[in-house]
Point group: C2
Chain length 209, copies 2
Amino acid sequence: MWLYHYKMPQLNDSFIEKKDFLVKSLGQYADIPADEINLLADIFKSRNIDKGFFFLQQGDHLSTVALICSGLFRVFCTDLLGNERTLAFRRAGQFIAGYSPYIENREIWYSIQALEDAELIFINFSDYLALEKRHPCWTELTKNYMTELYIEKEDRERSLLQEDASTRYLNFKKKYPCYEKNISQYHIASYLGITPVSLSRLRASLKKD
Amino acid sequence: MWLYHYKMPQLNDSFIEKKDFLVKSLGQYADIPADEINLLADIFKSRNIDKGFFFLQQGDHLSTVALICSGLFRVFCTDLLGNERTLAFRRAGQFIAGYSPYIENREIWYSIQALEDAELIFINFSDYLALEKRHPCWTELTKNYMTELYIEKEDRERSLLQEDASTRYLNFKKKYPCYEKNISQYHIASYLGITPVSLSRLRASLKKD
DNA sequence: GACTGATATTATCATAAGATAATTACTCTT
DNA sequence: AAGAGTAATTATCTTATGATAATATCAGTC
């Protein structure tokens, strides 16, 4: 298990070179007019997070949204016994966030940890909400992004209800072929909802066939 | 298992009396200006669906959104072996929909069935998308509604990953105390992701304590 | 190349849930 | 009230996964 604690990510000034990547990533979800794009340079900041460190931790009230420019993250929660369950993996081009603003007075119940050294650009949620008030394109973007997240979770629910662990593992490999090399069995198992020992046994039985 | 087939719901002309209920229900998610509200009478239609019949069925491309004015629905999918898995229950004041417009060229993979005689008002998705183009309040509404759905699914994922069947059953009873009387054990079990036989055994072991 | 710590595998046993079938309890209709 | 059909329980057996511990593999460091 990871024993790293929260570490304030390093600020750096390479935002400019990441702006194109941000614009492209935002463009997946909505058309953002040039005027709005020009506002971003002031409010987006650039940071690195080393492997093993956290973007946010369970219990935080911290509210930021970040775009992953490079690196790999896992989103996970921990139960009272310390067992970790991985909800999702996130890679370059995807966003990570704590959604607490949508749930008033509620702590974030998951953590987001870098599995590789990572570069991020991020924005405070309060600044983002101000953008939404300025121009409807940002609401449109949030709507489309939330819809994508929702569909991802719908699919995950179906998988957890309908498939056995073996099928879930095979589908994980199919869906994330590149991930398998970079993610430990411990983390894959916690995504599949089984123990690492079960996953190992499962892999052994698949090899036989 | 239900053997009813799809039945075109009955059209009736009692939309006016349901308009207040619609306005109140929409108001949960966004402020809709009076001008926009006035457009609704033309495009919303009112229908009833009898117990056992479907609002939509797995494989449909049908795209409508409906507000439940009375009655109870379950959203479920069926695997290749015919096993049903219930994704959610929906009651008066909640919306039901097929989201296929968001997933191009993809069939809806779940069915929505009335568990009680139900009254609905509904709108075609294409008409709703036209509203979104007219005024940003509708995009705002969709954004907030999708966020609520997303949070519901996030919670469900955590539950399926982290809790055993017994805990999930107790939490189901806590969350939906009124549902328990109206929903068969078969449907509760399919929501919990276990067989009805398992649920029955589980209930017996809970009674002992 | 040997030591160390982290990961992954394998083995053993215990437990929860699935499959099937038989039984009991309800509900509705006549 | 009897019978039919549906829903829920109980019993038996099987299987998948969990818990724990021992071993094996791998990566990094000196």
